[in-house]
Symmetry: C2
Subunit: 423 residues, 2 copies
């Protein structure tokens, strides 16, 4: 017996980066965890399936967060007065070191996963810490929550404080063992190879991680061209690399057969962008973080025009908010400042483009995810508008834009991941 | 009999732009609507006064919103894809014209005032529309809400659509009559002279408004140096003005004896800044609006270093959010982009500076408002932290920064304006 049901209400979803389709009072049919279609009337074959109606609400695809640091959630919105490298040393590394204590990790990760469960995010690509035990705990919590996640045990074997560093050998071995143990363990969670960034990973470690990827075919995430000091440092550390991304590519860790997502790309050179395009490397655009740690504004318009795959990341705790709606509006606002200050030929991002990046754009990293076209995962968020009254009439497209700007987790009244109802 | 009571809990307030004082488990005493002091133990003379204790909370001064358009609240977060002048014509003017219908105005303003009542804002400087009847209605609603406001009937006698324009004569007469009628009518509300901006007000009207101000001593608000096209237009319209602000000053409407606040000042020249300083003109810094309508980034650091008085504005609906906490973090984030992109010698705003602007800085426009020094108005907001759990310990200063970044109206569990408890 197939598991079939429908949601009824006002439905909005991207079909491409320029288009948000809106369907008022339609049916969204789920069959075995996949979207069967959006219908104005239930087709004869589905006429007896259970229907849940959502009034005064908008039904949209779940959002994908392509870059978030789980252990940093505990200090989001704190000590936001430093640039990246100093911020890592002062805030991040001391906090992440606490995750060797499994009790502390549990307390912290439970808060993080519960807040993500309540959010509009249905998929996330997540950094944990170097600690494999705590990383497994985080994976267990995601599995139970119903949110789908790729979770990475972080690798760091140089330029890291002594309280948060691994030997090259341990880092590689722990990673391989952890991948073998978790690759097929969960329904909702998968491991992802996660060298923190070039400055904290020796060539030797990167080479071993490259081997592990070729053996296990696990995807990979890291940071790229985020901050000017960081880029200068990478140049010093890897004098042979043509550009920052080439330092990953030299070890076979830059897309190609296995999916790869790189956070930021604020300062990617044309050569780096070209290589990313060739290898199908995804960009996690994290505008709020780029403001908070004073990195700058990513030229997203140029990245999109170059044909790169771009999704959004909250980048907690560089970003203070877990909300991808906030990431959408931050992306639009930053693109306006980019246009105004840096390049008046760069068109500002539209709501269509921002919504696409947060749904289909990032969703693609997980496969057929992020829209309501037939065959896509039934990842759904219902946004209730009742406590945001207005005196005038809006069409559905306007209602959607409004909710992107104004909604928070209070308005998320139902959530489904691959057909599974979380609440 | 004096009205005396105390709040007990963890208290934080600015004493100057560089300093946030924190007092854990202290008493904040209110006497006849004014702050009597912050004490670690209740002084003998107050030992029998009623005490309300707020646990797991931070007690801070109420926030002052120096620039907000009440009629625009209904379309906040909508159609955010235009620059200022086009945005006014496409979104603002058609919506504002609806306020000639008092039924519509009531529906719209009730939503706005109720949301402001629930917010952390205790004082606001507000634009209404050209319609005096609807403006009086808005004043009535503020009076009932308990939030203190200066509300302005807007003046527009040129370059405005025919459905939203006044004759010079009517505009001036209506303004004078409305001021005479409302200047002493309310406990919480005062009128404020409100020429929309130079492009929509003839010299003749500005001259009449200047006369009205000299006669009534009512304060004044308007817009200044927000957008490059706007500035070019003003130069065309007022070829004799030395700079944009001089076009107000020529009519005596630029500070001096009567308080004046100018929104934005993104592109104020050194001459304009100097004049503002001479005349004590306040700046309403509205960073989110400056992003949304692609105006740019205001050089707040330079404005502050020049000795200008700077407060924050939500500038709904240029800004999408009514929250002044959001304005604080937007201000910090924008200052980081300014530092990164425009001037690496411009120091980023700190949390102390942003908090000051939202409390004492803007509060001064209303008199002794915005801190807990003795004699200041007892404007208080209580932020409850219970639903924002964290695994580690924070000091009170960290807890405050965290709430500035993370809180929303859910966390505001009590609010007092001049000793009057709103909830």
């Amino acid at each position: 017996m197939s598991d079939i049901f429908a949601l009824k209400g006002d439905i909005a979803f991207s079909t491409d980066i320029q288009t948000i389709e809106t369907r008022e009072n339609h049916y969204l049919v789920c069959k075995d965890g996949k979207v069967e279609g959006v219908f104005d009337r239930l087709p004869e074959e589905f006429k007896d399936i259970p229907v849940t109606e959502y009034k005064n609400s908008i039904i949209i695809p779940g959002l994908s967060d392509l870059h978030v640091h789980a252990p940093q959630y505990s200090y989001r919105g704190l000590n936001m007065d430093l640039e990246l490298l100093e911020w890592l040393n002062t805030n991040t590394f001391p906090e992440e070191s606490k995750f060797k204590d499994l009790e502390y990790a549990k307390r912290s990760y439970e808060i993080f996963v519960e807040d993500m469960r309540k959010s509009a995010t249905t998929r996330a690509v997540v950094f944990a810490t170097i600690h494999t035990e705590a990383t497994r705990l985080l994976m267990d919590l995601f599995e139970t929550s119903g949110v789908k996640a790729m979770v990475g045990k972080v690798n760091m074997d140089r330029n890291s404080p002594e309280y948060l560093i691994e030997t090259t050998e341990d880092s590689a071995n722990d990673t391989l063992n952890w991948i073998l143990e978790t690759a097929n363990k969960y329904q909702n969670v998968k491991p992802i190879i996660t060298p923190r960034f070039i400055p904290t990973c020796t060539d030797e470690l990167m080479a071993k991680l490259g081997e592990i990827q070729r053996k296990t075919k696990v995807p990979m995430q890291s940071h790229l061209s985020e901050n000017l000091d960081e880029i200068a440092w990478v140049k010093e550390l890897c004098p042979d690399a043509e550009f920052y991304g080439d330092a990953y590519d030299k070890h076979g860790l830059f897309g190609g057969e296995c999916k790869t997502v790189m956070a930021h790309c604020v300062y990617s050179t044309p050569e780096e962008v070209e290589r990313m395009k060739e290898r199908g490397v995804y960009v996690a655009h994290c505008p709020q973080s780029n403001m908070n740690v004073a990195s700058g504004i990513s030229p997203v318009r140029r990245l999109l025009e170059s044909g790169l795959k771009v999704g959004l990341g909250s980048d907690v705790a560089g970003g203070s908010s877990l909300s991808l709606f906030r990431a959408m509006t931050d992306a639009i606002q930053c693109s306006k400042l980019y246009y105004r200050i840096m390049d008046q030929s760069a068109k500002q991002l539209t709501i269509e483009e921002a919504f696409y990046m947060g749904t289909m754009g990032g969703g693609e990293f997980f496969g057929k995810v992020g829209t309501f076209l037939k065959g896509y995962a039934f990842d759904v968020v219902v946004l209730n508008e009742e406590d945001l009254p207005h005196p005038q009439e809006f069409n559905l497209k306007q209602r959607l834009e409004r909710m992107v700007y104004l909604s928070d987790d209070r308005h998320i009244t139902a959530k489904y991941v691959e057909g599974n109802k979380l609440f």
